[in-house]
Amino acid sequence: MLYQGEDIKKLIPQRDPIMMVDALVSAEGDVCKTELGVRESNFFIEDDQLMSEPGLIEHIAQSASAFAGYRCVVKGEPAPVGYIGEVKKFHCYRRPAIGDVLSTTITMGAEVNGITIITGETTVNGEVVADTQMKIFTADE
């Protein structure tokens, strides 16, 4: 684990009730891995006790944000604020349940004019539950 618990707040600007990353597990080159435990109190848990699909999108976006934040923090720079610019080819194969641990792999492309294209894949116990591409804008505030 590179960052977890309170320390994850050094990497992402989101706070309770919409913090959707528990840990940055690893980061090497253009690839990072993150985790999120799905708790009953999660903002995206619906009446049927499963997570709504936008929760998966937010988790993937914040995973990318944590990766970008980590890259800045190791260079001694402040973590950037990222906004989702586009979601493309998102698939949800299964909505996560309370108690599931989401394991997500982010692959980050090159940044061009403040826009970074990332791909994300989320698994639970090795089963792919969602994947997507995303464009992330970074702002300096």
Binding site: E86, V87, K88, C92
Partner: protein, 126 residues
């Protein structure tokens, strides 16, 4: 529903056809989500606007819908309850061959600005 009456309130429902509706919504500036997005500046999470589109599609069809695929969703402007307190959510659905899913085209906009455009497939079955 996750966000209806918590993140937004429907002010007006214009059902143009059984598969095309325009929902005028008011964003609720005191919504809980803004405590965390972000602590110093309230910005609508893009994913909440995606969820709002789904909920409007559910109101239109009267069915629970699952977001199997988002082909493309463009977030073309930053929405906040201050910048755009009132928004039109335009939802257009086309059933697939066996009616197990709808192709959806949706747009969130006000008179001046488009904030989101979404194309995808929402399934009737989980």
């Amino acid at each position: 529903m996750l966000l209806k009456d918590k993140f937004y309130k429907v002010q007006q429902e214009n059902v143009l056809s059984p598969l095309h509706g325009v929902y005028l919504i008011a964003l609720l500036p005191d919504a809980d989500v803004y405590r965390g997005h972000f602590p110093h500046k309230a910005v609508c999470p893009g994913v909440c606007n995606i969820e709002t589109i789904r909920e409007c599609a559910e109101m239109l069809t009267g069915k629970k819908l699952f977001m199997k695929t988002i082909k493309q969703c463009r977030l073309t402007a930053v929405a906040t309850p201050q910048v755009c307190p009132l928004l039109d959510v335009d939802v257009m659905l086309t059933p697939n061959q066996d009616s197990s899913a709808y192709i959806i085209q949706a747009r969130i906009a006000d008179a001046e600005t488009t904030y989101m455009e979404l194309k995808g497939e929402f399934s009737v079955n989980n």
